[in-house]
């Protein structure tokens, strides 16, 4: 691993400085992976605490208030600080390589997006140490969230605002990267499916996040500056928050799952040694899911009383999404059909994902039936449903991607035997935890309750569920052990360890920081495979060897983020003392100052001279 090897020679702080100022998409991917992984473990600990509280009736492991904080922070952390950043980690690490680019379109914004996410995540969690974290549920429904005492919800609002801005930047960056930075011959209909799905997910980010931005601003104004958006006494209306939240929130679940569909498409195709079945249908289905995903937000609000007509429209629209999703499921199955299948760890996750996600999809159709939803609403049935799609889809996919692209990112293969053990424990633990929750919900257990009474038929189910949760935790620990073990003892894996099909495997491992010495010429779908089938080992270059232009490292994104971070505290605490408004001015001053420097100081990047590249080639 290049970074590990380098750190042996260089001082620790010079490596830290290198990573703080980096604009290299590969290093930013690693940082996303580390930060997202950390928050994933944190969210997992919160989940374990929730399950331990519910292991037996009337348990007193945590207090009711703390339980509320746990569920809120578990949901928020997992969605915003774990799942999405981990997806960004792989998007950063893989997409420029997959399309034959030397970097992303906006390296500066890429770095800024990363740091905004990191500090937004820290901001959210500061609440734990200042008298209580956010406690109104991850959906933060008003008026509960606007009257929630203390600063917990303030941290939620500001933290999500900061990290949301980072996500929006990352989305725009990937859209432009995929449109403008493709290698010659890489037409839209030759894009690997992970790139396609990430492209569509980035468009969803672009359209969905501004609604959340506005929702969070309104909540911020209500909580910190006494405005009246959600206060019925002043003529406000709390339904507005629900609309804005779900106009963002429903596309958000597709932002989480679409890139994962891409991951599984790559994995299934690679390990069946076949090109993806129905490539164009897959692309079409992806776009269709994204399109429909914008018209169904109100199915989260069936029980607020929108009326039968609205409920019917949103119910039908929601059920329609099952069609393109079904297309995808069948395409994966047909890709495997008559392929020479290798059961590797990523492939195992893909095989586990298909039935699991199908179950999650079917409960989704059940929930989409508006009349039946009155029964399921706010019960454990809903919890079971979205964990089947988010864990069975997104987390399985992230674990598959971790095993699949680990050699690409770190020049080490993760231990396959340990990987398979991880899969089986995680898979069994997952179904043990959440299958029974469908039934707990149908038996009448409501979500978000911190205790339940004994002898109501809920005791055994909850105990089983908790046992499953601990199995999942064991699986994650084995994965961590696997990572540490292979980092210390593992051998460098060399180029193209999986006999891959797409361009990212044509780049040497470890990758030079400019990715491609000569930008490759793409001659078909699965470009590397096309060359392999023609008896070549490498891609044909599309240009003669020449100077390579690269962007300069910069610390400005980090400084800008620190500025917003400081200003965030100012906004939260100004209600206690007007003097604290100074924090807002100082913070915004730093952030805007950094922006001004960025705008006024020319930054043209630098060139790696041709001679140096030739010298490297001879070595």
């Amino acid at each position: 691993m290049s970074t590990l090897a380098a750190s042996n020679k260089r001082s620790f702080w010079s490596v830290v400085w290198d990573y703080i100022t980096t604009v290299d998409h590969k290093k930013i991917g690693v940082l996303y992976l580390i930060a997202g992984g950390f928050f994933f473990l944190l969210g997992g600990l919160e989940a374990l605490a929730i399950r331990w509280q519910l292991v037996k009736p009337m348990n007193d492991f945590v207090s009711a208030g703390f339980y509320n904080e746990l569920i809120t922070m578990h949901g928020t952390t997992m969605i915003f600080l774990a799942a999405m950043p981990l997806i960004f980690a792989f998007m950063n690490a893989v997409i420029p390589l997959q399309i034959g680019a030397r970097d992303v379109a906006f390296p500066f914004l890429n770095s800024l997006g990363l740091w905004l996410f990191v500090f937004g995540g820290i901001m959210l969690n500061v609440g734990w140490f200042t008298g209580g974290a956010a406690d109104a549920g991850w959906t933060a429904y008003t008026p509960l969230s606007t009257i929630s005492p203390g600063e917990g919800m303030d941290y939620y609002v500001i933290g999500l605002q900061i990290s949301g801005a980072g996500t929006l930047m990352a989305g725009i960056n990937f859209l432009v990267t995929i449109i403008n930075m493709r290698a010659p011959g890489m037409t839209y209909m030759r894009l690997p499916l992970f790139t396609w799905t990430s492209f569509v997910a980035s468009a969803l980010i672009l359209f969905a996040f501004p609604a959340l931005t506005v929702g969070l601003f309104l909540m911020m104004f209500d909580r910190m500056f006494d405005s009246a958006f959600f206060d019925p006494a002043m003529g406000g209306n709390s339904i507005i928050w629900q609309h804005l939240f779900w106009i963002f929130g429903h596309p958000e679940v597709y932002i989480l799952i679409l890139p994962i569909f891409g991951v599984f498409s790559e994995v299934v195709s690679t390990f069946s040694r076949k090109r993806l079945f129905g490539y164009s249908a897959m692309v079409f289905a992806t776009v269709l899911i994204a399109f429909l995903g914008f018209m169904v937000w109100a199915h989260h609000m069936f029980t607020v009383g929108m009326g039968a007509a609205a409920n019917a429209i949103f119910a039908v629209a929601t059920m329609t999404i099952a069609v393109p999703t079904g297309i995808k499921i069948f395409n994966w199955l047909f890709t495997m059909w008559r392929g020479s299948i290798q059961i590797t760890t990523p492939m195992l996750y893909a095989l586990g994902f298909i039935p699991t996600f199908t179950i999650g999809g079917m409960t989704g159709v059940m929930l989409a039936a508006a009349t039946a939803d009155y029964q399921y609403h706010d019960s454990y049935f809903v919890i079971a449903h979205f964990h089947y799609v988010i864990i069975g889809g997104t987390v399985f996919g992230l674990l598959a991607a971790t095993h699949y692209w680990w050699p690409r990112m770190f020049n080490r293969m993760l231990d396959e035997r340990l990987g398979k053990i991880t899969f089986w424990i995680f898979f069994v633990g997952f179904h043990l935890t959440f299958m029974i929750q469908h039934f707990l919900g149908l038996w009448g257990m409501p979500r978000r309750y911190w205790v339940y009474l004994p002898d109501q038929g809920l005791d055994l189910g909850n105990a089983i569920s908790t046992a499953g949760a601990f199995l999942m935790a064991i699986a994650v620990l084995i994965l961590l052990y696997n990572i540490i073990k292979t980092a210390i003892k593992g051998e460098p894996c060399g180029d193209d360890p999986w006999d891959g099909r797409t361009l990212e495997w044509a780049v040497p491992i470890p990758a030079p920081h400019y990715n491609f010495k000569q930008v490759p010429l793409v001659r078909g779908l699965d470009p590397l495979w096309v060359e392999k089938m023609d008896g070549r080992k490498e891609m044909t270059p599309s240009e003669p060897l020449d100077d390579i232009h690269m962007p300069n490292n910069t610390v400005l994104p980090f400084v800008m983020t620190i500025g917003f971070f400081i200003a965030g505290f100012g906004f939260i605490y100004q209600k206690y003392d007007n003097a604290l408004n100074a924090l807002i001015f100082v913070g915004m001053g730093i952030a805007l100052g950094a922006m001004l420097v960025r705008s006024l100081k020319d930054d043209l990047g630098y060139h790696i001279p041709k001679k140096e590249l030739e010298k490297e080639a001879r070595k």
């Binding site: 859209l175 449109i179 468009a203 672009l206 359209f207 969905a208 609604a211 209306n237 339904i239 507005i240 609309h243 804005l244 106009i247 914008f294 018209m295 937000w297 109100a298 009383g305 929108m306 009326g307 609205a310």
Partner: protein, 104 residues
Amino acid sequence: MEERATFNEEFIKEKRRQDMRHQVLTFSMLIIFTLISFGMVMSDLNAMFVRMVIILFAVVQVGFQLYYFMHMNEKGHGMPSLLFYGGCFAGFLTVLGLVVLTWW
């Protein structure tokens, strides 16, 4: 070759002058639309009718701005229009949802 280049340049300059005339024409259209909108509001016409017309005028005005002032009529605006109109569509649904499904 030299002669041709200058001819080309002359042609482009002339075309740009013409484009600029179109821009000024666009501007006068925008002014007219604005005047009509303000005028209709101050008149005694049926309120519902006026509402429809001024919203229509606003949309047309914005179309002029996008296509002429923001150069969307030029080549190479396929992707920008796709994602910009995508945003407008999402925005339209948002407004519709908030207007229709907030009070009942």
